[in-house]
């Protein structure tokens, strides 16, 4: 089945940004020596936290399970190299909050010894869908584009999927890890795509790659040919931020606007990152868990920017040192890209499954914010067609009802509005604040609702018990009265009463007979 793509679609807003991609994509992917220590957080995905199955002092092998899933939406964690568990403790992790979280710390032994070395199985596709999904789940594969949603869960949607969208857009400036992965491992990505399509029963697949990656496009097209599949298509899309956003990419490739709060699966579409497809191939064909990924280390403060094949748990100071940079000379460290990444407080933060880029900039932006002059440039560039200046106004006034009317929760935090603002207002920061505030209010509301319900239930229960007691008492009273009526009267009175009764009956009989 051939699906020709005669033309592409566009979305409103967006920006043509300076790419800064050649900074890091001119060098081959570097390999690091095994770092002396690996810091592996027990949560690297969206969903329930994992539960460690190892304890301090345990010897572990490469690829060994460290922490198992605890719920349906969860993903296991494996050892990235062999060594000894020296601690399971709180440690800085890559998270916008800058808070610490539970990590398993391995002192590596340098042997890099596998528990079971990955072995290629040629008949890897000859399995049932549940078996394939189980393998993906066991390998700890999560979405590697940034969200980190467990891949096996995403690959078993309720809806039937017609179209697979593979995201190789990589629209954020500076980041080139997917570019390099496609250049060097295009074949594995294609085979991974095949596996995903088999699992989903998808009829077609579009692989969207921005036109600023000609080498990756060529490699992918080259890798597609021997497969002989005409339902997979590499589509060259314009380099335009934020084309790599899920709903934006779907819009560009298919013209479909996924409604607010809906997911692509409801429209028979599913989106995966190229790096996830690569990891899935290795999980299925080699039984290899996800223990490494390619990370771009770049920015003006990095002496030798490049992409590195990094073991999960390697800390960022090891990475920047491998790029000939003194960690002490980094004024501003960012996890992710310049538009959506977050500042890191600690250089000892580890790389996790979703870390695509370490960006070190020479200076942080800290210009004084001027008042909003309502120029409307933010609204012009918003890919979701929001009115950021109005949202800002309501966030400022803490009018949380109004701000939701202006569709705050449709904001994808792409950063375009803040980027163009001539008053340099940190708009995204305001929107995040407002979201947090609303979530907190909702939680508070739920709590108070819960408390009120409990209170009302208690009141009702007490009232019911009281009523029951009253009833019981009344019954008892009546019963007592009755028995008292029967018993307390002395036999004389009873005899008199009985006699009277008899007389009455007699009289009644007589009257009826006289009537006749």
């Amino acid at each position: 089945m051939t699906h020709a793509k005669p033309n592409l679609y566009t979305f409103a807003g967006g920006l043509a940004l300076k790419g800064h991609k050649t900074l890091s994509n001119q060098r081959p992917i570097a390999q690091l020596p095994i770092p002396p220590q690996l810091v592996i957080p027990i949560q690297e995905h969206i969903g329930q936290i994992t539960e460690p199955v190892v304890k301090v002092g345990d010897e572990v092998y490469k690829g060994q399970l460290l922490a198992r899933t605890t719920g349906k939406i969860s993903s296991p964690i494996h050892a990235s190299s062999s060594g000894e568990i020296i601690a399971i403790e709180h440690h800085p992790v890559p998270h916008p909050s800058g808070l610490q979280a539970q990590c398993i710390i391995i002192a590596t032994d340098g042997k890099d010894q596998w528990l079971t070395p990955p072995r290629y199985q040629s008949d890897y596709l000859n399995k049932s869908t549940p078996q394939l999904l189980q393998k993906i789940a066991d390998a700890g594969i999560v979405g590697m584009g940034g969200a980190g949603f467990p891949a096996s869960v995403k690959l078993s949607p309720k809806q039937s999927i017609d179209t697979l969208i593979l995201n190789g857009a990589e629209c954020e400036p500076y980041i080139t890890c997917d570019d390099l992965l496609m250049q060097t491992h295009a074949q594995d990505i294609m085979l991974g795509t095949e596996i995903i399509m088999q699992i989903l029963g998808a009829k077609q697949c579009f692989i969207g790659i921005e036109d600023n990656k000609p080498k990756a496009i060529e490699a992918m097209q080259h890798a597609l040919k021997p497969l002989g599949k005409n339902n997979i298509e590499v589509v060259v899309i314009p380099s335009y931020y934020p084309t790599g956003g899920e709903k934006q990419l779907i819009r560009v490739l298919t013209g479909q606007s996924i409604p607010s709060k809906a997911i692509p699966a409801e429209f028979g579409m599913l989106c995966h990152n190229v790096a996830t497809a690569y990891a899935i191939y290795h999980a299925i064909a080699y039984q290899q868990p996800l223990i490494s990924r390619i990370v771009t280390v770049t920015g003006s403060a990095i002496q030798q920017p490049q992409n590195i094949d990094v073991l999960i748990g390697t800390t960022i100071d090891d990475l920047v040192q491998a790029c000939a940079t003194d960690p002490a000379n980094i004024p501003h460290l960012i996890m992710g890209g310049p538009m959506m990444g977050y500042s890191l407080k600690h250089i000892a933060t580890p790389i996790i499954k979703t870390s695509n880029c370490v960006l070190a900039l020479e200076q942080a932006l800290s210009p004084p914010a001027m008042p909003c002059i309502r120029c409307g440039q933010c609204a012009d560039v918003c890919p979701v067609q929001l009115l950021p200046q109005q949202l800002y106004w309501y966030a400022h006034a803490k009018d949380m009802d109004k701000i939701q009317n202006y569709a705050l929760f449709d904001c994808i935090e792409c950063g375009c509005c803040s980027y163009v603002c001539p008053s340099r207002i940190p708009l995204i920061q305001y929107f995040r604040y407002a979201k947090q505030e609303i979530w907190a209010q909702e939680k508070e509301q739920q709590k108070s609702d819960h408390a009120r319900q409990r209170h009302q239930a208690r009141e009702a229960r007490l009232a019911r018990q009281k009523a029951e007691r009253e009833q019981a008492r009344a019954k008892k009273k009546q019963a007592l009265k009755k028995s008292a009526d029967n018993q307390s009267d002395d036999p004389k009175k009873a005899a008199i009463a009985a006699a009277l009764e008899r007389v009455k009956q007699k009289k009644a009989k007589q009257t009826t007979s006289t009537d006749e």
């Binding site: 960012i334 407080k345 109005q390």
Partner: protein, 348 residues
């Protein structure tokens, strides 16, 4: 382990090379051709008033910022006060006395801008508030314009601005009513447009001098659109609102109504369309809203010019529509991506 000195700054971590000052400087640059044309036709007075206006604006802005406990230098450096001063000066006759400019600019900056909360908070265009205050308070000084190309040197200009008319000079010999004024007065005397146009104060398109002023502001305005400082919506809407209304009446009775072209190149039309109505703070911000806002101004300019008490209606039109901006913005919200239609039922 060493830790870099990081700022916990929220994304994005890069920004376009722009700020309010750069926007304002672009506007000033775009105003330059118009200023030069005014100088060419109406003499040295424009520069003298310009100097006065800028000094007054900066002094007033600094004073109020200080009283409000704000960072004076930070806000002065945004050049917004200077832009207000220049826009107001363009509307003041070049031979008006010095205190006209000082009063007008002070009123614009202190009352219309700072008392409402300063940059970004003024609901009305400060320059136009200042202009209207002057026009209502001092109608005589505000309507005497030098005849174009009058031999009038720098010294004479200084004399006239600071010490009033020289005894040797006759006011009537030097000054004249503006073309729009002339048209209004004589149309009221039942003359036809074509008769009035014979009077010698009209050039190829509109009034001598004024047509070139308008052309210069048109050029400056196109530069601003090219530089993406302003969007095309408001200027196009203002000009088409004025043009279409004028065309309608002109087609009905060309002897009693001015031609649409004459309207476009007379008085403050181009200045209003590209520089006054586009003031971001006091104008509409949604794409559809900008069109409604602009057309309303264009139609109002025509109505005031044709049936109102003043020869030109730019300032009043802009201020009147400024009042409607919150309502316009509210009803013209764009459709958010992924929504069929914004749910208005949820509004309180």
């Amino acid at each position: 382990m060493k830790s870099p000195s990081v700022f916990n700054h929220s994304s994005p971590h890069v920004q376009a090379n722009t700020d309010v000052a750069k926007v304002m400087l672009q506007v000033l640059l775009a105003l330059l051709p118009g200023l030069l044309v005014i100088f060419w036709f109406f003499g040295w007075g424009i520069w003298i008033h310009l100097g006065l206006a800028c000094m007054t604006a900066i002094a007033c802005e600094a004073l109020v910022l200080k009283l409000r406990g704000k960072d004076v230098m930070l806000y002065l450096k945004d050049y917004s006060a200077v832009v207000t001063a220049v826009l107001l000066v363009i509307a003041i006759p070049t031979v008006a006395p010095w205190w006209i400019t000082v009063f007008g600019v002070s009123f614009a900056i202190i009352i219309a801008k700072q008392l409402y909360g300063g940059l970004g908070y003024n609901p009305f265009n400060p320059a136009m508030v200042g202009y209207v205050a002057l026009l209502i308070s001092f109608p005589l000084q505000m309507t005497i314009w030098l005849s174009p190309f009058t031999e009038f040197g720098f010294v004479e200009s200084v004399n006239i601005i600071f010490w009033g008319f020289d005894a040797h000079l006759s006011v009537d010999a030097l000054t004249t009513a503006t073309p729009l004024d002339e048209l209004k007065t004589r149309l009221a005397l039942a003359e036809t447009v074509s008769e009035i146009k014979m009077s010698g104060i009209f050039g190829a398109i509109a009034g001598i001098g004024w047509e070139w002023v308008n052309l210069a502001f048109l050029g400056g305005g196109l530069y601003l659109i090219y530089q993406k400082v302003i969007s095309w919506h408001i200027p196009v809407a203002v000009l088409s609102g004025l043009f279409i209304t004028a065309l309608l009446f002109y087609l009905i009775a060309p002897d009693y109504y001015l031609s649409p072209i004459l309207h476009l190149f007379s008085g403050g039309t181009m200045l209003a369309a590209f520089f006054i109505a586009t003031d971001p703070v006091s104008s509409s911000t949604t794409p559809k809203g900008r069109l409604i806002y602009g057309v309303s101004i264009g139609v109002l300019i025509y109505m005031i010019r044709t049936w109102g008490g003043y020869p030109d209606g730019v300032a009043f039109s802009v201020l009147l529509v400024n009042m409607a901006v919150p309502t316009i913005d509210y009803y013209t919200r764009p459709q958010v991506f992924g929504y069929q239609k914004l749910d208005d039922t949820k509004e309180e």
